[in-house]
């Protein structure tokens, strides 16, 4: 059974919901899934300045671990999800790409990415299924995310 790792950046939970939808899509295609949340490097004062941020952050810290080397080693496919204002140059994504390069396996991984710039960073990827930002794709975003997950899982077979 293929393993699809869904990596996402989320602050208040909207991209988290898309990540869950992508994971469901991969499960529908009979893959194992791992959901990994990128920890945002941010100071405490900023967190408290936004209502609900701390609560949501603490919940997600509890529910998700950050991507680890073994996640990438064990991944047959990757789905990356990020809000449109958080591009691949964000510090969290940069360290993720460093992790991917460090443990780059000999086996190219099918990947689906939110942005075309993400696609370029995933040099080891065999294909990228979507290049536009999921945040800009309209109201059917969860459905598109589910299809992303499903496509990646199918590509892993």
């Amino acid at each position: 059974m293929a393993t699809v790792v869904v990596v996402f950046w989320s602050r208040m939970g909207s991209t988290e919901r898309l990540a869950l939808a992508a994971a469901v899509g991969a499960v529908q295609a009979r893959a194992n899934i791992r959901l990994r949340w990128l920890r945002e490097d941010v100071d405490e004062t900023s967190i408290d300045a936004v209502p609900g941020w701390r609560e949501n952050r603490e919940r997600m810290l509890q529910e998700y671990i950050a991507p680890r080397d073994i996640d990438i080693e064990g991944a047959d496919g990757l789905v990356l999800l990020s809000p449109s204002h958080v591009g691949p140059d964000a510090v969290e994504w940069k360290s993720f790409f460093e992790l991917v390069e460090r443990v780059a396996s000999s086996k190219p991984k099918p990947a689906a990415c939110g942005h075309s710039e993400f696609h370029q960073r995933m040099t080891g990827a065999r294909l990228s299924l979507v290049s536009e930002s999921p945040e800009d794709a309209g109201p059917d975003l969860p459905e598109r995310s589910r299809l992303l997950g499903r496509c990646v899982a199918q590509a892993c077979r």
């Binding site: 469901v24 959901l35 998700y64």
Partner: protein
């Protein structure tokens, strides 16, 4: 009549810093080919989760999952957008079907949550995922069998509808109280002791013990020194 007793002490056991769990059947790191399930009953876990801890987001597919909290409060979140906190005398049934992702956490920062989690294999694959949750009056299981799940809706009392020819009942029995459950021909029963001491068809059972009964006309369940049981009536 065929009966088999599964003792609490024979179950798989794992103790982590945040979770103590007993597996009646093969589960996770516990594998025993002699205990892979009973009829459609595939998993029966007895979990105690430390305050504030739990199971992070993970996926299920093609499984009817019933969670029965004995004490404490469990928080559930899933990919269908369901988000609930519930405790004892609440039935939660999740049909994983074609795929769901969920997390389960102890909602309390101070008290453990103790629960039984039941997995029943569905009669069909790729069903649409669904979630059911309802509360019942504990008086309805006191001294009698209260159906908590079955294959069809119960007009008299709400029960979770599961995609399998399987019925689950709960009962709390006081000392000396005896109830009888007729077992239809070709049906198989599993009785799990949630807590306390009971006797099933004369066999004494303690907390965590279970008995499988087949080819018997009826079950007689006696509250030896009081206790709670779950009864599964399976095809």
């Amino acid at each position: 009549m065929a009966t088999t007793i599964r003792r609490a002490s024979e179950r798989g056991h794992a103790k982590h810093s945040w979770l103590e769990t007993y597996h009646t059947f093969t589960f996770a790191g516990y594998y025993d080919p002699a205990h892979m399930g009973f009829r459609s009953l595939r998993v029966l876990n007895d979990d105690t989760i430390a305050p504030g801890r739990g199971f992070g987001a993970h996926a299920h597919r093609d499984m009817e999952i019933v969670t029965y909290v004995l004490s404490g409060q469990l928080e559930h979140r899933d990919s269908m957008g369901e988000r609930h906190v519930f405790g004892a005398n609440v039935i939660q049934a999740m049909s994983a079907g074609s795929g769901i992702v969920h997390s389960e956490f102890n909602a309390s920062k101070t008290e453990p949550v103790h629960l039984l989690q039941i997995w029943i294999e569905p009669s069909a694959e790729d069903l649409p995922p669904s979630y059911q949750q309802f509360e019942f009056d504990p008086a309805e299981k006191h001294g009698k069998l209260r159906r908590i799940a079955g294959p069809t809706p119960d007009a008299a009392q709400r029960a979770a509808v599961i995609h399998q020819d399987a019925h689950i009942f709960a009962a709390v029995l006081d000392t000396g109280k005896t109830i009888r459950y007729p077992l239809a021909s070709g049906r198989h029963a599993w009785v799990q002791v949630a807590w306390g001491e009971v006797a099933v068809n004369g066999e004494p059972l303690a907390m965590g013990d279970a008995i499988a009964v087949s080819d018997a006309p009826a079950l007689t369940i006696a509250g030896t020194s009081g206790g709670e049981i779950l009864l599964f009536d399976l095809s």
